[in-house]
Symmetry: C2
Subunit: 127 residues, 2 copies
Amino acid sequence: MDQAAPAGEQLLRTLTALASPHRLRIVAALAEGRSYVSQLARQLGMNRPLLYMHLQRLEAAGLVVGELETARDGSSVKYFEVVPFALALTPELVAEAVATLEAAQPAGTATGENGPAAGGSGEDTST
Amino acid sequence: MDQAAPAGEQLLRTLTALASPHRLRIVAALAEGRSYVSQLARQLGMNRPLLYMHLQRLEAAGLVVGELETARDGSSVKYFEVVPFALALTPELVAEAVATLEAAQPAGTATGENGPAAGGSGEDTST
DNA sequence: TCGGGGTGTCAGTCTTTCCTGACAGGGGGT
DNA sequence: ACCCCCTGTCAGGAAAGACTGACACCCCGA
């Protein structure tokens, strides 16, 4: 319930996480079903360390989650699956989110000239 | 509707355009009302050339539009305003968009073989 | 013991992007 | 004339991100 991260920062994190062809492809691949790092690397044709980095970026943004499972044969396999996120993006939503950013960073004048109605507004997700 | 560019590429363009604090702020500022370059630069506290670049990036992504107006006194002023875009972002949407990307790039074996769907994500209205 | 998957991390490159200062104009008010 | 405001573009430096190869480590099967 608590919005630990400011909406603006979270939005930025999500956007930067998705703003990459590789990461987009990873999300797409994961949307079809979970997979583990090495296999995903083969499937997408990229180096494991690289994939690892992108995967971590996505996970940091909360778009995917990884879980290290230990198979019965003892081998460790880290499965990733996509988080069913739902982000709506409109100019107004962006304005609201950015408002929380500016609040955190007092930029000399700029702040508060027009009365941004921006109320509580539960942005993101939902239906 | 505009379906000129492949969904995947357009999506990527939009995401990369928004994945920047500056550009996010620009969109937010423009969402409150149109403005012209120099004024916007003052308002946001950034260099004009820099703002110019970001503005062009946003315009290239189709998120804002600029129009060079000639005031009655002859001075040229380039007004920008935000385009009322509305982007919904979910894993499935991403998968669909990426599919159009992969279509352009022959990808060997893509079919997943994972059994456990695990997901159980609540998919609902995708209106 | 050896070979074969898997994970996790590192140092180092290399490309891309961001950002700044300065410039060339256009036009008007005093 | 001078000064002010605006647009548009450039070269060049600084920072960030992407990418690679190699390494240490684990556990199993032959």
